[in-house]
């Protein structure tokens, strides 16, 4: 076990995969500047600074991925992905299908998002749900350094385009990472960092820690909360959510992204559908507001659901008489 930050874990995974597979390529605005050591180890051909032009960075990754390379592109902040949207959604997401399976697009697009830097909504916009909605793409958003490493390795090896979101608020937080080199975590498997009987808290990214904190606080009330960390947003580990719900009968979904048509809506809809027989109370969603992130640090922090709010929500739910009981 080593201790490292999520950012370091991402770099470690990249280095490991670049060492393992010569077709992996790392490109973006400043990646070669920021990682001169990687240029030294893997060559300037494989670690490339690009022009300041997200559309062509992504488009080039799509073309290269279909032609035998495995590009990892750093698009910096998630809102900048809007410039890359055509390449990601219309090309990477659709051209396998429209060509009848002639091409595949093994590429990873990295983007930072979430509260933690305080520079406003043109840098912090949790828009991962847009890509979950788009066909042909996979979407990952890890909550710990170990998961970031294992999932990024899986994403790089995956034959499909993967959007990989890094939560700004987690980037510099240290955590334990196993030393084994080939710690690959399959995409599509949720984790259960805390098990419990009374209520299920489903989340991803930095709000997993919020849920864990809330769960710890609820213990004092005699409420035993289970926490599910989705880790991969597409494919979604629906079975894991349903399994937990079957046990607890109560569900709170927590995300930093705004609510409408977000991942929490998808989870709540899953619960209302296949999870309905288990539901003993309304499904609660705690999400960021339908608002851009403000530049003001304190306001930005206030957008993130807090452990306090999660606890209040859970207490309200547990108070709800079980309809089926």
């Amino acid at each position: 076990m080593s201790t490292m930050t999520l950012e370091q874990a991402v770099q470690l995974a990249l280095r490991e995969e670049m060492g393992r597979d010569a077709s992996v390529l790392y490109m973006g605005e400043g990646v070669a500047t920021k990682h001169a050591d990687m240029v030294a180890d893997f060559g300037a051909d494989r670690v490339r600074n690009t022009p300041l032009a997200e559309a062509i960075i992504a488009g080039t990754a799509v073309g290269a991925a279909a032609s035998g390379l495995r590009p990892v592109i750093d698009l910096l902040f998630a809102p900048f992905m809007t410039y890359a949207m055509d390449a990601l959604v219309n090309s990477a997401g659709k051209l396998r299908y429209l060509s009848g399976g002639q091409f595949s697009f093994p590429l990873v697009a990295l983007g930072m998002t979430g509260a933690g830097w305080g520079v406003g909504g043109q840098h912090n916009h949790n828009l991962e749900a847009m890509f979950v909605h788009a066909p042909g793409l996979k979407v990952v958003m890890p909550a710990t350094p170990a998961d970031a490493r294992g999932l990024l390795k899986a994403a790089i090896r995956d034959a499909n385009p993967v959007l990989f979101f890094l939560d700004i608020g987690l980037l510099h937080q240290p955590g334990p990472v196993p030393d084994a080199v080939d710690q690959v975590l399959p995409l599509g498997e949720a984790a259960v960092p805390r098990s419990g009987r009374d209520v299920t808290l489903v989340s991803y990214g930095k709000t997993v820690a919020v849920c864990l904190e809330a769960a710890a606080g609820l213990q004092a009330d005699g409420i035993d909360a289970e926490v599910v960390d989705l880790r991969t947003l597409k494919p979604l580990d629906e079975a894991a959510v349903l399994r937990s719900l079957a046990k607890t009968g109560r569900l709170v979904v927590v995300q930093e992204a705004s609510g409408l048509c977000g991942v929490a809506a998808e989870i709540a809809a899953l619960a209302a559908g296949r999870g309905f027989p288990f539901l003993q109370a309304p499904v609660a969603r705690l999400t960021g507001p339908d608002a851009p992130a403000p530049g003001n640090w304190a306001l930005e922090q206030a957008m993130v659901p807090s452990a306090q709010r999660v606890m209040e929500q859970v207490r309200a739910l547990v108070g709800t008489p079980a309809l089926a009981a």
Binding site: A58, S67, N90, L95, S99, G101, Q102, S104, G136, A159
Partner: protein, 318 residues
């Protein structure tokens, strides 16, 4: 007519494209899906594609029939694709607008205007990094309209700066769907924009297949020798309108007439006739051969089954 020559082959190649697209037009009149034909632009496809070789890759767009046929695509599989049949190059999933054929090196066709420009540098980068066949280059076909999209600028800058083996081929057919290009740009815009990027630029009569071929061959040789990209603007005309059916009510008849008079097929036929290398019987023989191929292709395509709805979500993920 026993003679075969590159010039004759180019004539036959253009005849094949014309016959294929006229067949699509006829099918459309009988209820088949519409298409973007390249009638009038055959010299661009044939002239450029014949300047490439098997190692090379091609990206194209919604108006791809000519490029695919010039590259040797089977017209039967093309018609099958337009009709949405399982024997189409894309199993009937594409329809007419995004037909690619990896086996021919025609890759990643996109009907998003500019999509081909967005992906081409990546294909060229892979070639440069040794993932394609040694020495292979990439040619990307796009229209004058695509040159208005920002990705045109981004692709040129990246290709120049990374010295990618990429031939940009702009088929300037004067129209961008229902808008004349002079409503969106100045007359000399496209080559002037390219020149600003500092790569070799040639502007050629796109209705003269020999001129196109000569310029393309020069530029391709330059790319293979020097590594970096080059730019070819072909002045041509879209004779049949944007997408079948198109009454072209919005087109200036005088402009259209002037370009019809410069039809690339007639021109090549006359050139060969003037040189004593083709007579009426020879031309008729070529036309008959082409017609027979298209007839057989049509029969093949129409016999091909439709994919079942159970295949609806196949090939979404690898």
């Amino acid at each position: 007519m026993a003679e075969t020559s590159p010039e004759l082959a180019r004539l036959e190649g253009m005849l094949l494209i014309r016959a294929y697209e006229e067949q699509l037009v006829a099918l459309h009149r009988d209820g088949a899906p519409g298409t973007c034909t390249s009638v009038g632009q055959e010299a661009c496809a044939v002239g450029v594609v014949q300047a490439l070789d098997g190692r090379d890759r091609i990206l194209t767009n919604h108006r791809s029939g000519g490029h695919l046929l010039a590259r040797g695509a089977d017209p039967g599989r093309l018609i099958a694709e337009v009709l949405g049949r399982v024997d189409g190059y894309c199993g009937g999933r594409s329809g007419s607008l995004h037909i690619s054929a990896a086996e021919l090196g025609v890759v990643l066709t996109s009907t998003i205007v500019g999509g081909e420009l967005s992906m081409a540098p990546g294909v060229a980068l892979a070639q440069k990094m040794g993932r394609g066949e040694p020495g292979g280059i990439v040619a990307v076909f796009f229209g004058d309209g695509a040159a208005c999209e920002g990705v045109f600028h981004e692709a040129l800058n990246l290709a120049v700066h990374w010295r990618l083996p990429l031939l940009f081929v702009c088929e300037n057919n004067q129209w961008q769907a229902y808008v004349h290009r002079l409503e969106t740009m100045s007359d000399r815009a496209i080559s002037a924009w390219a020149e600003g990027h500092g790569l070799p630029v040639r502007v050629v009569d796109g209705n003269d297949v020999e001129a196109v071929h000569g310029a393309a061959a020069d530029l391709v040789a330059g790319i293979r020798a020097q590594g970096g990209p080059a730019f070819l603007e072909l002045s041509t005309y879209r004779q049949r309108g944007h997408f079948e059916p198109d009454d072209q009510a919005y087109v200036d008849p005088a402009e259209c007439q002037a370009w019809l008079a410069r039809d690339p097929i007639r021109r090549q036929a006359e050139r060969l006739r003037a040189a004593g290398r083709l007579d009426a019987a020879g031309l008729a023989a070529l036309e008959a051969r082409v017609a027979a191929r298209i007839a057989a292709a049509l029969a093949f395509a129409q016999a091909s089954p439709m994919p079942g709805p159970d295949t609806l979500d196949r090939h979404v993920y690898a």
